[in-house]
Symmetry: D3
Subunit: 237 residues, 6 copies
Amino acid sequence: MADSILVVTAHVGDFVWRCGGAMALHARRGVDVHVVCLSYGENGESNAAWQGDARRDTVKALRRAEAEEAGRILGVASMDFHDLGDYPLPESADSVRRVSQLLRQTQAAAVLTHPEHDPSNLDHCRTHEMVLRARMQAMAPGHGADFVVPPQVYSFEPHQTELCGFKPNVLLDITDVWDIKWQAMQAMPTQRNLWAYYERVALQRGAQAGRRGKTAGTRYGEAYQSIFPSVVTAFAG
Amino acid sequence: MADSILVVTAHVGDFVWRCGGAMALHARRGVDVHVVCLSYGENGESNAAWQGDARRDTVKALRRAEAEEAGRILGVASMDFHDLGDYPLPESADSVRRVSQLLRQTQAAAVLTHPEHDPSNLDHCRTHEMVLRARMQAMAPGHGADFVVPPQVYSFEPHQTELCGFKPNVLLDITDVWDIKWQAMQAMPTQRNLWAYYERVALQRGAQAGRRGKTAGTRYGEAYQSIFPSVVTAFAG
Amino acid sequence: MADSILVVTAHVGDFVWRCGGAMALHARRGVDVHVVCLSYGENGESNAAWQGDARRDTVKALRRAEAEEAGRILGVASMDFHDLGDYPLPESADSVRRVSQLLRQTQAAAVLTHPEHDPSNLDHCRTHEMVLRARMQAMAPGHGADFVVPPQVYSFEPHQTELCGFKPNVLLDITDVWDIKWQAMQAMPTQRNLWAYYERVALQRGAQAGRRGKTAGTRYGEAYQSIFPSVVTAFAG
Amino acid sequence: MADSILVVTAHVGDFVWRCGGAMALHARRGVDVHVVCLSYGENGESNAAWQGDARRDTVKALRRAEAEEAGRILGVASMDFHDLGDYPLPESADSVRRVSQLLRQTQAAAVLTHPEHDPSNLDHCRTHEMVLRARMQAMAPGHGADFVVPPQVYSFEPHQTELCGFKPNVLLDITDVWDIKWQAMQAMPTQRNLWAYYERVALQRGAQAGRRGKTAGTRYGEAYQSIFPSVVTAFAG
Amino acid sequence: MADSILVVTAHVGDFVWRCGGAMALHARRGVDVHVVCLSYGENGESNAAWQGDARRDTVKALRRAEAEEAGRILGVASMDFHDLGDYPLPESADSVRRVSQLLRQTQAAAVLTHPEHDPSNLDHCRTHEMVLRARMQAMAPGHGADFVVPPQVYSFEPHQTELCGFKPNVLLDITDVWDIKWQAMQAMPTQRNLWAYYERVALQRGAQAGRRGKTAGTRYGEAYQSIFPSVVTAFAG
Amino acid sequence: MADSILVVTAHVGDFVWRCGGAMALHARRGVDVHVVCLSYGENGESNAAWQGDARRDTVKALRRAEAEEAGRILGVASMDFHDLGDYPLPESADSVRRVSQLLRQTQAAAVLTHPEHDPSNLDHCRTHEMVLRARMQAMAPGHGADFVVPPQVYSFEPHQTELCGFKPNVLLDITDVWDIKWQAMQAMPTQRNLWAYYERVALQRGAQAGRRGKTAGTRYGEAYQSIFPSVVTAFAG
């Protein structure tokens, strides 16, 4: 198992809904889980917070607090907020550099991030592209002798999978940590409209995993698509 | 790791070039490796044997002997020859049934077979389809109470990967058993024209795996594409 | 709106889970809804019925009774059972002909059936292909002067959408008939293991439709992929 | 039907050839049709205008006049020229913002624009991407309380459809307004080389629509690909 | 240039509309052009012939006569009618064998046939598959010592290209033989409804070729998709 | 045959491994071969050069010298180094303009460059996109009266073809110039780790070409994917 993994999201909420189970599962086993949120999602994913005369700073602070609490519940080792703004998220060579440096420091074996395509949310695509670029920068000797073996990249589940061409090839059994993920989801009341939706996503992925896994006990799952081939020394049983 | 795996090929030679490493690797660790060859490949993949006034029976016997010797070297638990004929291989509901029964008997956790598409060799496509059909038959209670959890299916590498839409997501490190695979390849002198080709395939896949795996020692590899999502409880490190 | 639609499924249960909402919605508005089940799904989709010393005939009769009751609840105009057997479902030129004749009799404007691809269930693919073939036969003057304008074909949602390459381009709001669909689902106790799963599917599709539709009131939905371009005289508002 | 639609093109000519029928059809029925041209197409799509010692300003003025006349014929409600330059068209966060503001003002139910891919004309791809980004910006509460329900996006037909991966799922019958579209095409004499080409495109799409539509009277058509699923309450007849 | 090419179609009319230019062009240069029509297209593509009390035999004879006349005009070396029936066209191992024998006799360097996919016309898909199967049979030493170097396969243009996933990578300039193709089209009065449609197809492909070819003189074209990589010794200029 | 071709790469080494055979083959026949390297590949593709306290300038000078020597061996007409930096390579409107001007000066009939997709190396994707943009700029009359007929674009082979969606449709027989390519490869000792890998690539492509080409003598090959349809006046034999 990896010693360290990295999660990179466009907006603060994304890590909870999409890979909170993976985070809790690995953190509980001693894996360092690092998180980068490129924006607070203040413009497009904080609808409930824009009541009355809400100010941008207030919304951002609120979302950051929620993210920190959710991260704490999931057991993260570190969180980094780039505050690039959202809807749309701009390109940032500086953010690419920061992510590449984090990869060098943490030697993360895997990065979890958004899928390559999403016509309904280009912030997600841009994040995916920035992660791939940071991965290159982290493995280049010309940027420092601490260059890394390039990590695997897993796309996590987008809101409408078929629209994004998302093809999961890994189902992660998160039954054992579902209560932690659920608790982290509830630490994000600004997006409470998503609670039931992502509970159902977890149940559907659990049902799909349970059908075919060795343990019929799987009740909750998360879906991932690996971008690069995995190197193995035997087929799973 | 699986207790048992099943290999299903269109022609006798296929298992050596395409998944001989996986077979040796698993057999050596005590996994039962079963092989089904739907035909002897006597028409289209035994060119060197059709010299002078060769007869079909002689060619088939020759290829069967080669396959049995290669299987012995790789450590197979059983081999089954359906003798359906090739170029083209016909559909056979009876073969589907035999494969499904073997799945029930062996409880194989994985099946290795040809990819879904191959315009240059429709025997390969048909084999893939028959495997998927046998998988259904094996999991249906109406065909007997010994129905199975449906196995994962891995497509192994075709001759021209891009032509077949083959997208490997698993690279298997076969460095430790390369000498065995090489020996099995040489047990198939009828297709000696493929020896160097598939040695180079193994070296290319080894180089791709070695670049990114934890062990830079990987020298030989085989590529696979899993058809169904894998269920896991942690990301590989 | 269409005067008549046709539903063609591989197994008896499929029409309830996958397009029961569409059936109820159209039937309620006076559209004739015709159903063809190519098999009873007795082998692979009647697991709970194979208890003790169940006989095939008993299982088939049970599933047929369930289907008839579910059809009655949904308001179907006719049901036709071809009893081809399943897991695997065989090809049948005779069934193609029967479906083509039904198309000629009903002049159905749309056919609802399984998607083109499904590696986990080739019965579904074969049904799709038979529908397309019946559609050709129904529009050919050489098979009778009562040939039809070829109907639109909609694929309904498979069990694992991404595995099947299913790309829905139509979300049907079934909120108003959800109670009827739910009642029809419960008329299929043999597959009660699917009740909660497909209730969640309906809620997810409803959430996706409600997000973007004019009526935020959408709570339940069904997803479809049209195979042929639709001819329109204006863009929807 | 929509109350308002928005057309966004890379170059001034595009709206006439690709969606002039849709514009005339909707305008005639009282729908407000708004047009944004990101450039005048002065560099790459005004070949006939670069005679002798033509100056850029002259070419741009000429193309703008043509576009305004074509727009007038088609019945547009407004036209906005961003004058970004072309071949290549640069990215522009400011243009994204302007388009998003127009979406908020007009509450357009649909946006017509170029497809996602076009290796022969990256200006088209960039326009598509800018539209998707503007759509996000328009639906984000953080950019103003007048945020909108995200509109459907339709890609219109590119010059070489197969090269662009264009897969039309909607054929619009423009027979009734063909004379208006033809008149608007002729208001663009700088690109008279395209007149016959796009008349044939309209006839081919008309023939495809007429074959399968209820009215065999369809003679002219336009093809579109919807990017997002459509929400419906019944299947078309 | 090839010494011999083979055209294999599902119905008699197909060769005229889809590759009549290629046939005339090569025949005129001394290349032997052989044609196989798997059916007369009597059921689904002879609508105008089913007037009054037309009998199947009469329709078939009529279509055969038209095909022979069109073939004569295009300069074919041979025509073979398999009379398999259509809408739907059945699979036929015997037809595969006959096509493979023709490949052996003619040593055709290229085969022109339908594309792999066509949901509106499965006869076309089946023909494509039978051609690929015949190609295998023709190259297999086990079926005779006169086995051949496998020919290139070109898919010609289907009725609705995007629906079929047709991606042309070759545009053939048929300007010089357009009058011959047009004459051959008119030798098929049963399908006169297609004359104008395929004249426009030729003009569109001509315009696309003329835009980028060295000779701006190209006025008529045909589009093809090669299935296998072409082996060349230099890039075209 | 073309009078002039252009090669555009992200890093200095790319042209040797991926299209050195094409370069030597055409140069030997009098075709002018021009090369643009957007960066020296100093950061990510010069690993062996970053020993001890190597400085960036030294590494860049070393790689440039290697590239010039390799270019000399292959017989290039000109080389242009843009020195944009790598891992990641930044977008550059200025580089696009320079490439477009070179296209105008050389009237190159074909451009060889990286494929559209490569998740492991976004510098390659960006180069592909810049080439397509330069192609547009070169054909636009508004950028000068010396505008060109747009050249064909060929993608050359990436490191892991399947990961990049690379689908070669052209295999170039480079047997006659293999010794020259091999010599050029050895002029790049900084990347000596790639020598054996790309020798095997050439042998595999040679084997694939030899199987199907008229000359069984093909031993070495290179694979290409044409982006635009080719215009031809006959099918190859």
